[in-house]
């Protein structure tokens, strides 16, 4: 049996350009920062939050704003006592109740002085004042015992027939037909491009700007659900005929028109061969109105071209890899093209 070998893989040598690029890449790359520095912003945010909470709590307790527990005795009925729906639990009523209680305490204190007189058991206490004929006696005055000193708090308690333990909800009743779980809907956002690199949290990849980034949206006013206005077709007569990538240092490629829904804009990042994760670009979307681009539609494809030497200030000739994204976040890539920066 012949002995086989793996020489092709074992003796595979890396080209010298690989090694040089890998060594040179360290000159532009920085070492990863320390964990403390890396998360300094998060730590600062947490510290600020803690300080704000502490200050607000301090102010809160300083002002003695501890809400007292709701005492059933504070519940004041308005209107018919049997109608529990009319029971109000407002602060105003509670204050009035407290005021009434204080007045009642004063009266009781005065009464208690007179009531503390020694009385015989046989004595029957009669009401000192008979109700006048014009004023009808209230129910409380009827039930009010006349025997001995009474505790004012007991008399101040409302009758147990009312449902004082039922605490009504503060929220107003919902209108019929409204769903309490539904929330007001925001204006629909445009889909942001989902770059494959950003999903992997690679900090070296440039992040694509969101497609809705426009100077109009930075004034803080809420954006209405906008419908992108129809973009006027480019002036094809002005589009010059480009020959090839190599002649004009441009990226010339096509995207199927169906992928360019809505406004025709593409986003492109460029990387020199052997540059690792050092991508160029990512500052702008290219639309047909962009001065650096030329667009052309033919056979269902949208051809576009733009000068990467002008856009990205490429001064070094060489092979460049470019990735193109449309507004839906769909990515297109092409392998390396040669860019002659001298032309």
């Amino acid at each position: 049996m012949k002995k086989v070998n793996f020489d092709s893989l074992t003796n595979l040598k890396a080209p010298e350009s690989f090694i040089e690029n890998a060594i040179n890449a360290t000159k532009t790359q920085k070492k990863k920062p320390l964990v403390f520095i890396k998360y300094s912003r998060a730590l600062a945010a947490v510290a600020c939050l803690v300080i704000v909470c502490a200050v607000s709590l301090g102010v809160y307790f300083k002002e003695d704003r501890v809400t007292p527990p709701i005492d059933p005795s504070f519940i004041v009925e308005t209107g018919n006592s049997k109608d529990s729906e009319n029971t109000q639990y407002t602060d105003k009523n509670i204050k009035e109740t407290l005021k009434n209680d204080k007045d009642f305490d004063k009266e009781n204190a005065q009464n208690s002085v007179t009531d503390n007189k020694p009385t015989t058991e046989s004595e029957t206490i009669e009401p000192s004042e008979k109700p006048s004929s014009t004023t009808k006696p209230t129910e409380d005055s009827k039930d009010e015992p006349t025997v001995g000193p009474t505790k004012p708090s007991e008399s101040a308690k409302p009758s147990e027939s009312t449902n004082t333990n039922e605490i009504p909800t503060s929220s107003p009743p919902l209108k019929p037909g409204t769903n309490p779980t539904t929330k007001p809907t925001k204006p629909s956002d445009k889909p942001k491009p989902t770059l494959p690199d950003s999903s992997s949290q690679d900090p070296n990849y440039p992040a694509a700007p969101p497609p809705e980034q426009s100077p109009d949206s930075t004034d803080g006013t809420p954006e209405l659900p906008s419908v992108s206005p129809p973009i006027s077709k480019p002036d094809y007569a002005a589009i010059r005929e480009y020959k090839s990538v190599h002649d004009y240092c441009e990226i010339v490629d096509y995207i199927e028109t169906k992928h360019l829904t809505g406004s025709k804009r593409v986003y492109c990042i460029v990387k020199k061969r052997g540059a690792g994760n050092q991508w160029l670009g990512g500052d702008d979307w290219f639309s047909p109105e962009h001065i650096c681009t030329t667009w052309k539609e033919k056979n269902g494809y949208t051809y576009f071209a733009y000068s990467i030497t002008n856009t990205y200030n490429i001064t070094e000739s060489g092979e460049y890899l470019y990735l193109i994204y449309n507004e839906n976040g769909q990515g297109f890539y092409s392998k390396y093209i040669y860019v002659n920066a001298n032309t």
Binding site: V4, S8, L9
Partner: protein, 161 residues
């Protein structure tokens, strides 16, 4: 500022000494020189940036192999969503088929067999070391070796290895 050493080697020396190993792993997985170059640079950049505490050369080599495998896997995942605009003219790796060198057949194997066979036959690692590098059980490595040989035999069409 003192230069960081990896197992007693400077960064440049590490790149030169282990470039062959890293390129082999990248080519075996990506089958493309352009992609291999990207991964090659990322692998050594991660070594430079992370500066792991590596004391021995064996440890360094194993670390680079492990990172190379992960980097290639991530690279394939990243580019899976991208659509190619046109057929690439990138030269693919062509292995000679008229010799008894079966590296080309190794490239065609599924990744789990490919890694084990590569480490066993090309890098001359032992079963336990392969298990440690790949995070497998030793018995799993033996099984993968056996099945990988059978698959390699079916691709190669020879008497086996």
């Amino acid at each position: 500022m003192a230069e960081v050493l990896f197992a007693g080697l400077k960064y440049e020396d590490v790149v030169r000494e282990y470039s062959s190993t890293v390129v082999s792993v990248c080519i075996m997985r990506l089958k493309n020189w352009a992609d291999a170059e990207d991964c090659f640079q990322n692998i050594f950049l991660s070594l430079y940036q992370n500066s792991p505490k590596i004391e021995t050369k064996e440890h360094l080599k194993a670390w680079l192999i492990r990172v190379s495998i992960n980097e290639c896997t991530n690279y394939i995942k990243k580019n899976r969503k991208l659509l190619s605009l046109h057929e690439t003219k990138e030269q693919s790796v062509n292995f000679p088929t008229d010799t008894l060198d079966i590296s080309w057949a190794l490239v065609e194997l599924p990744p789990k067999y490919r890694d084990v066979l590569y480490l066993y036959y090309c890098e001359k690692y032992k079963v336990n070391e392969i298990a440690e590098i790949l995070g497998y059980n030793a018995n799993t490595v033996k099984t993968l070796l056996k099945r990988g040989r059978e698959k390699l035999k079916s691709i190669y069409g020879g008497d086996g290895i």
